[in-house]
Amino acid sequence: MRGIGKRYGPTPVLESIDLVVPAGSKTVIVGSSGSGKTTLLRLLSGFDFPDAGTIRIGSEIVVGPGVVVPAHRRGIGHVAQDGALFPHLTVGQNVAFGLDRHDRGDRTAIVADLLGLVSLDPSLASRRPDELSGGQQQRVALARAMARKPGVMLLDEPFSALDTGLRAATRELVAAALSSAGVTTVLVTHDREEALTFGDQVAVLRDGRLAQVGTPATLYSAPADLATARFLGAAVVFDALASAGKVHCALGLVALSSSLEGACTALFRPEQLVVETTATGADAAGCIARITAIEFQGATQLLTLELAGARAIEVPVTSGATYRPGDLVVLRALGDAVVFAAS
């Protein structure tokens, strides 16, 4: 995709989007609702057309100056939010819908294979879509799209309608099915956990622009800006001063990974913060904090800590240790801080 732009009336929805999805990889486009991610996917599938830019699949330009390939000639698989199964057809007829006429002979066997691919029992083929659970419908929709052996598969928030437990299981299964078929996949979601676990590449979309593109690990540990950092996970943020490879903040002096100098914002992931009893004593890389509230959460407990010269912060610790409100503890940071120039 190069220079993609789209507006509805005077409102720009997407602006100069450049994105390369390597063949055979899985890319996740993540953004909050209204960020334009579904529009981007619809441009790819050909249900909608951009006002500017070029989309190329392999060597073929599908949208560009003077070129518009309609959806049904793009060879792109598309799985909609709720599966969008044909309500008037059985599951088997749904899966076989896109098969060519000459496949007609061994249709039953092909359908059974496809259902097997998404771990569904072939006996479901005679059921009606409304007799299936949400997760099963979603997998039928995937099997239906796979029937055409598409080079590219687009998934539009396919797991968002599922229950939490079912969501993770269905996601793993779908990821495995797509990987084994070697299909280039683009998934759109607003769920950060889904974004970080599903893809090889994550693209963060905000207000119609790509904020950052990279591997999940890079995005999580080295976000390009504060908004991206907060979007991808919980963050603890301090006002800080950077100089000579160190950053000075409420936690003390912490190493940083950039060459930034001067006033800045330092960001830590909660799992970087370690809480120790005061017996160990404070040193240069730690500070004294007072516990003001404790929330029991099962495996972890969430401590609300008061620090000198900073806002109160929340840090999860294991449930084993016993703390009481009012206790003093030492707070220490592991690893480097991520810093952003103060705005």
């Binding site: 249900f47 049904h72 060879g75 819908f97 896109g98 949400g134 055409r148 687009l154």
Partner: protein, 514 residues
């Protein structure tokens, strides 16, 4: 609490059963006269060349008109709902206007314009132009409800736009198309005026002629029996074709409207089609009525019966609508609050009865009144009873959807605040149901204003409704004198037709109750 519930359920069932029992009279009458006539004489009355001719005419009419209407209705609905034709909103309204023009007025307009009209194809033309909106309107509603993501899925599976329409959209429109077609079929079987004007003989026109010459002879009854069988055949056929189909929209889906397609080179053809449809179904009858109005001048309006007829029509319409809604209430309440076998049976009796031609219902009550309650014969009360049975489902369907939208716990809340059950019902539920009740009443009113056949048979001597006066003027070849009556009927029907159109936008009214 439970006893109270049982008691109120009992009372509701009793009321609903009373109405439904009345609904059994027409079918019972057909069965009893068939038995009394005896098989040999019945066979002699039915297996004659004349009946064969009528059967061929009627079957031909239904077999040609219904598919044609379905085709035209679906095509028009798709053009209005799914394409970027400029002015599709105007067409959307214009295409329901034929519902405001009674079929016999349309026929009068056409005969005035083309006096040589007669026979089967003229019947197909006139009836088709009157009835195609009965497929068009429910199809528009259904098209708007379809999940566009389903069609997009088909496109991403490599199916071209035409294929998407044939393989995905059309099958999902099966229910509104079948439902609309059934209603058109039933209208074709029961229409008298429109076909009498173009001298096309169907069972219904033959029965009316028979009735006029021999009053209540066995020949008319035997023909009525065959007509009833035709109706039941259509009802069974439709429910068979409908099968177990229930195309529930799966998943929540988005409320996103579907993309409208560009027609490109087909734009001109689409305009021609829609323009011609509006021209033939609206402009021709309206222009004819207008022409007669002008040629009749002020003299036609000084007809001394004109305002009597207007008053009587509105009177019958209002009383009929009120009675129908009141009596529909227990049946609708039963269906919503106590669903089950009893409710289903009581409700379906009324659907079958109202599917019978008004003519048969009228014949049945004429006979019953003469034999059992002579005082009722030629009384306005009997006319209202027949209207009630003919139009009851229009009220039931609307009341039911209105009642279904009232959360029962609102009524319970009112009771927990100290209202007695009946008071709670009246102050909470009734107020919520009022809009649907009014919509139902309006539809019944529309039916009564334009009802000709049964009124002709039943009305007390001296009754002058708009339809009756119109008909007697036309029969006296006083077309100019008939024009003011036609105008008033159309003007009375227009607001209700608009209501139907507006509520079809909000999907709240079951269009299939017409």
């Amino acid at each position: 609490m439970t006893r109270l519930r049982q008691r109120s359920q009992g009372a509701i069932i009793a009321m609903a059963a009373g109405v439904s029992l009345l609904g059994l009279v027409p079918l019972g009458y057909v069965a009893v006269t068939a038995i009394l006539t005896g098989a040999p004489s019945l066979a002699a009355l039915i297996f004659r060349a004349r009946v064969g001719e009528l059967l061929a005419n009627t079957a031909g009419l239904v077999l040609i008109t219904v598919p044609l209407c379905a085709l035209v209705g679906v095509a028009a609905a798709w053009l209005v709902e799914r394409t970027r034709l400029a002015g599709f909103r105007a067409f959307a309204i214009l295409l329901v206007v034929p519902l405001a023009i009674p079929a016999f007025v349309n026929s009068y307009g056409w005969v005035s314009a083309v006096p040589s009209l007669n026979g089967l194809w003229s019947g197909v033309l006139v009836a088709g132009l009157s009835y195609f909106p009965l497929v068009y309107l429910p199809t528009v509603v259904a098209l708007r409800r379809l999940d566009p993501a389903v069609e997009e899925s088909a496109r991403s599976l490599g199916v071209a736009p035409l294929g998407v329409f044939l393989r995905v959209v059309l099958p999902q429109l099966r229910l509104p198309i079948l439902g609309g077609s059934l209603i058109i079929g039933l209208h074709l079987l029961s229409e008298y005026g429109a076909f009498a004007l173009i001298r096309f003989d169907t069972f219904t026109t033959a029965i009316v002629e028979q009735f006029r010459s021999t009053f209540n002879g066995p020949a008319a009854n035997a023909l009525a029996g065959v007509l009833v069988l035709c109706c039941l055949f259509l009802l069974v056929g439709e429910s068979g074709a409908r099968g177990g189909a229930r195309y529930a929209r799966i998943g929540a889906g988005s409320a996103r409207p579907a993309e409208r397609s560009r027609l490109g080179a087909w734009t001109l053809a689409a305009y021609l089609f829609l323009g011609l449809l509006v021209l033939l179904s609206v402009a021709v009858p309206v222009a004819s009525v207008g022409r007669w109005l002008i040629s009749g001048g002020l003299a036609a309006w000084s007809d001394r019966y004109l305002f009597t007829a207007l008053g009587q029509t509105i009177g019958y319409g209002i009383v009929g609508a009120l009675v129908t809604c009141l009596l529909a209430f227990p049946i609708a309440l039963l269906a919503v609050r106590f669903p089950g076998r009893t409710a289903r049976i009581l409700e379906s009796i009324n659907y079958v009865t109202s599917s019978l031609p008004g003519l048969v219902t009228a014949l049945a009550f004429v006979t019953v009144a003469i034999r059992l309650v002579p005082a009722l014969y030629q009384s306005a009360a009997l006319v209202i009873v027949v209207y009630l049975l003919m139009f009851l489902p229009r009220a039931i369907v609307n009341l039911r959807s209105g009642l279904a939208q009232v959360p029962p716990n609102l009524e319970e809340a009112a009771r927990s605040l100290g209202r007695r059950p009946l008071v709670a019902f009246a102050t909470v539920t009734l107020r919520f149901v009022m809009p649907s009740a009014l919509a139902g009443a309006a539809l019944v009113f529309l039916g009564i204003v334009t009802e000709l056949t049964s009124t002709l048979l039943l009305a007390p001597n001296g009754t002058r409704t708009l339809a009756i006066q119109f008909w007697s003027r036309v029969n006296d070849i006083d077309y100019a004198g008939a024009a003011p009556y036609a105008t008033l009927m159309i003007l009375l029907s227009l607001p209700v037709t608009y209501l139907l159109f507006a509520r079809s936008r909000s999907e709240a009214m079951a269009v299939n109750s017409l």
